[in-house]
């Protein structure tokens, strides 16, 4: 049987490649940002700022390609589900990378010695959990596996608990006020990153359709 619409298929594959690229940048940069924050590595900050610029260029480019294909190709079925899902997750990816970059940027303001051991431990733990969430979200997208949404929602509860613990630790007033203020934001950024990962995985439920993943 002849394969038709090959040009359209190539456009879809190009979009998918760019989405995977964005996922990769969020997931990889997230662990680097945590390391930078805790280790005070200022070089990473520059690197992440460059990646942020790449994402900011990719975002409108992907959107324009999707808009054009919806307009011209009258997509249906998995093609339509894919294009709509892309429109829904690209803002999540862009926002998430911005949060990652915000976290890394704190490495400029905070010396790791400023942090109490418990704060360090909680931040490290939040970083690990949320990195794992993002890896799972990326896999679920790539494999069109809607079942990850439930797992991520569970992991996100752990994130919320860690967030509450960290805020309590900060409120105990053992660190300098400027450091405490910065770390309150950082805590919030990690917590938001968890929420975005959950949102992405939920979008995959629609993307995957009702067929079991192949």
């Amino acid at each position: 049987m002849a394969e038709h619409r090959q040009a359209f298929q190539r456009e879809l594959e190009t979009i998918e490649t760019k989405i995977i690229e964005m996922f990769g940048m969020v997931a990889e940069d997230l662990s680097q940002a945590t390391d930078a924050l805790l280790g005070g590595d200022n070089e990473v900050v520059k690197l992440l700022a460059e990646r942020e610029a790449i994402i900011e260029a990719l975002y409108p480019e992907i959107e324009a390609t999707v808009d054009r294909n919806i307009l011209l190709q009258a997509p249906v079925a998995e093609d339509l589900r894919f294009l709509l899902s892309v429109l829904r997750i690209v803002p999540e990816l862009e926002r998430s990378h911005a949060l990652v970059e915000h976290i890394a940027r704190r490495a400029n303001h905070i010396l790791s010695d400023d942090l109490t051991p418990r704060t360090r431990g909680l931040v490290e733990r939040m970083g690990d959990v949320v990195s794992d969430m993002w890896r799972r979200a990326a896999d679920s997208w790539y494999q069109r596996d809607g079942s990850a949404a439930a797992i991520l929602a569970e992991r996100d509860e752990e994130m919320d608990e860690l967030h509450a613990s960290l805020i309590a630790e900060l409120a105990s007033g053992q660190m300098a006020l400027p450091v405490t203020m910065e770390m309150t934001l950082v805590a919030r950024f990690y917590e938001r990153l968890g929420d975005h990962a959950v949102n992405v995985a939920r979008r995959v439920v629609y993307l995957a359709g009702s067929q079991t993943a192949e």
Partner: protein, 292 residues
């Protein structure tokens, strides 16, 4: 310096596939709302089996679309619904076709009576070489209506239902052959509606029409579906998505040994489901235009 991270993301609702909701609706359909039920219907032209094993229900006041590649048997199945295949020598129907709970092919059922209840509109507009008025009055006259006032009433009502009245009301005595393609097709629909059928079968009614005329026919289908049940065969998938409530996808099974092709019903469901989340890989390949 820091912007506040954005709000309102956590409360976002989970995006559920539309399909699940539709399947729930499906279960609630009462049996009496089913106008046709076919069970394992096969149609033979002499020794050649054109269509095999079709089982589906057509629901009241809905538009059901049959789609599929050429030779998949969709028109053949449409024609079994008002016994049009009876007119083909050697044609034979196997299996059950129920129309409002009665067997359509039972011995005591008259094909003429069936076609009075189940009208048909064809691909090519086929107005009779008579006036516009006489085209529409043709069926009612055959059915024994000769009262002038009554006929005028039927003609006006039918032409209005077919969204043609305003365009032709001042030239009802003019020949129907002078109408444009789109007008002629709406006249044929008016002629079908004039005998107050229960069901209207349409076999690619817009394939000979331009987009404007097509839109007029589609609008009128939406208009009349509260009074009739419609089954449409179409090659235009966008038309199926625009007008139909349910879609049946037919495909061709090829037997390599005997080199024969037989039409099969691959998938039947709510139109949104068929076009958003088809279950069969053949349906998926067809609706996304990947196969052919």
């Amino acid at each position: 310096m820091e912007q506040q991270p954005e709000q309102n993301v956590t409360e976002r609702q989970r995006t559920e596939p539309v399909v699940q909701q539709q399947e729930r609706q499906e279960d609630q359909t009462a049996p009496e709302a089913r106008v046709f039920e076919t069970k394992n219907v096969s149609l033979w032209y002499s020794a050649f089996r054109a269509v095999t094993d079709v089982s589906l229900s057509v629901h009241e006041n809905e538009i059901t679309a049959f789609i599929g590649p050429s030779g998949c048997g969709k028109t053949t199945v449409l024609r079994t619904l008002n016994r049009m295949n009876d007119l083909v020598v050697g044609a034979r129907v196997e299996g059950d076709v129920w129309y409002r709970g009665e067997s359509l092919y039972a011995k005591d059922v008259s094909a003429i009576a069936v076609r009075r209840r189940i009208g048909m509109v064809f691909q090519k507009p086929n107005p009779f070489p008579k006036s516009i008025y006489d085209n529409v009055a043709y069926g009612p006259r055959i059915n024994g209506i000769h009262n002038r006032g009554k006929l005028e009433e039927i003609v006006e009502r039918s032409l209005r239902q077919a969204a043609l009245w305003d365009e032709v009301k001042n030239r009802l005595k003019a020949s129907a052959l002078g109408l444009s393609g789109g007008q002629a097709q709406r006249l044929c629909i008016a002629r079908t509606l004039a005998v107050e059928p229960d069901v209207v079968l349409m076999d690619e009614p817009c394939s000979a029409l331009d987009p404007i005329a097509t839109a007029a026919i589609e609008d009128l289908m939406h208009e009349i579906k509260s009074r009739y049940t419609i089954v449409i065969v179409t090659h235009n998938m966008q038309q199926a998505t625009r007008v139909s409530d349910r879609t049946a996808f037919f495909s061709v099974l090829r037997d390599e040994k005997s080199d024969t092709r037989t039409g099969v019903l691959v998938e039947y469901g709510r139109t949104e489901q068929i076009f958003q989340d088809p279950q069969d890989s053949r349906t998926k390949a067809y609706v996304t235009g990947r196969m052919g």
